[in-house]
Symmetry: C2
Subunit: 243 residues, 2 copies
């Protein structure tokens, strides 16, 4: 009974457009400053500050101060999971025509809290499934023995992931592609490893990802998939100079 009241409180926090925008902006797992979040939420700094205070007070987000900046981030995976499940309800309940313009960068490859989403995420998940390295059900999955050796060869530490007490392997309905990509501990481990190998890299301030020229062929080779659906990799020299 009182549980429902607490749930209403939490839901009401997410139920404000500005706060929902803030939480969505944090969904990629990074820390953002109050100013950046105010901009993302399309509200003034004072207003954002109020919202951030409420979210932090309810322990949906955490803060760390750094100089005169305050960095906010999601309080944990459980918050990301909640946002995802709300998004699922939206997808099921309001299957309206997707007139919304999704940036091509985001569609191609992006981070979804701590794993890879977008065309790249779906392509990788398809490849892993086709090669019987993983199996999916509606809201769960598992890594096959052949998958174990495959991930080991890639340098992905599955035992470590398993110890994290997270599920190994979980399909997550892709927001833009409407087909599952790989989430869970394995999804996070893959994203971590591919970043480490510089096969993928975050674009400057955004959830979008770049597939590096090295990564392009390396991913196609090791995952046995084709990335031809993706746009050509952005000129890396330019990016390095710009960065």
């Amino acid at each position: 009974m009182s549980e429902a009241l607490d749930m209403a409180t939490v839901a009401a926090l997410v139920g404000d457009p500005a706060r929902a925008n803030i939480l969505c902006a944090l969904l990629d797992g990074r820390s953002l400053t109050a100013g950046e979040l105010a901009y993302a939420a399309h509200v003034s700094p004072q207003t954002a500050s109020g919202h951030l205070g409420k979210l932090a007070n309810a322990r949906l987000i955490d803060v760390t101060q750094q100089g005169r900046h305050r960095y906010y981030r999601l309080a944990g995976r459980h918050v990301a999971a909640m946002m995802e499940s709300i998004s699922q309800v939206v997808a099921v309940a309001q299957p309206r025509i997707r007139a919304v313009r999704i940036s091509e960068d985001m569609r191609n490859a992006r981070m979804c809290y701590d794993h890879i989403a977008g065309r790249l995420g779906v392509t990788l998940a398809d490849a892993l499934r086709e090669n019987h390295h993983v199996e999916f059900a509606d809201d769960g999955g598992l890594v096959t023995p052949s998958g174990e050796t495959f991930f080991a060869k890639l340098g992905i530490d599955l035992d470590g992931a398993r110890q994290s007490r997270r599920v190994f392997c979980r399909p997550c309905l892709d927001w833009s592609e409407r087909r599952p990509h790989l989430a869970g501990a394995v999804g996070a481990a893959i994203a971590r490893r591919l970043t480490e190998l510089h096969w993928i890299a975050r674009k400057r301030d955004g959830r979008a990802l770049t597939i590096t020229p090295i990564g392009w062929s390396a991913i196609e080779r090791s995952f046995g998939c084709s990335l031809h659906d993706h746009t050509v990799p952005a000129r890396p020299a330019l990016r390095v100079v710009a960065g």
Copy 2:
């Protein structure tokens, strides 16, 4: 971007105490009349009607008319999953002293959408895990080969459950016990089968469950667990007469 707006809309629907109460009341998967829901939400019938209209309009609940009654139910598992994930955030974010009085009936055994929760749910999950019939990770799990035969012997159709495209097996943090019970397709199949066998039965209008005298020993025997933590089964003769 617009996705965040939609999410805010859905979250705002859950964010009202009366509506949260309504959704929680429907969490056991049954259909309730508008009047019952008004009572559950502690609001007048007119007010409840307004809320129900909004929830139905947003496709969070479905309606069927029967005579002069209108029966409302959750629009699907995705809604139950969302409510569960919100509840998880509440549990993690507000670990305050549980001063709330939980009814002993509810703590002992209850339905959680379509599977068994409460002490019984946790006990069953523990037994299944101890006997290596299932394995759990943080947010996923699997049925072992020994589990397959175990469930088959109980008359639980795992293949059918697998075809439903739901995860086989998923731990779900128990609301009252703070430890995992078994959810997913297997959880639902177990609940269905145990009801079929009359080992458990719903108490009259509520999520709470009764363990029948037959069920008491049968469950202890077949699952290899002790139910001594549970209260003695309520007098069945009385219940039959009353029902």
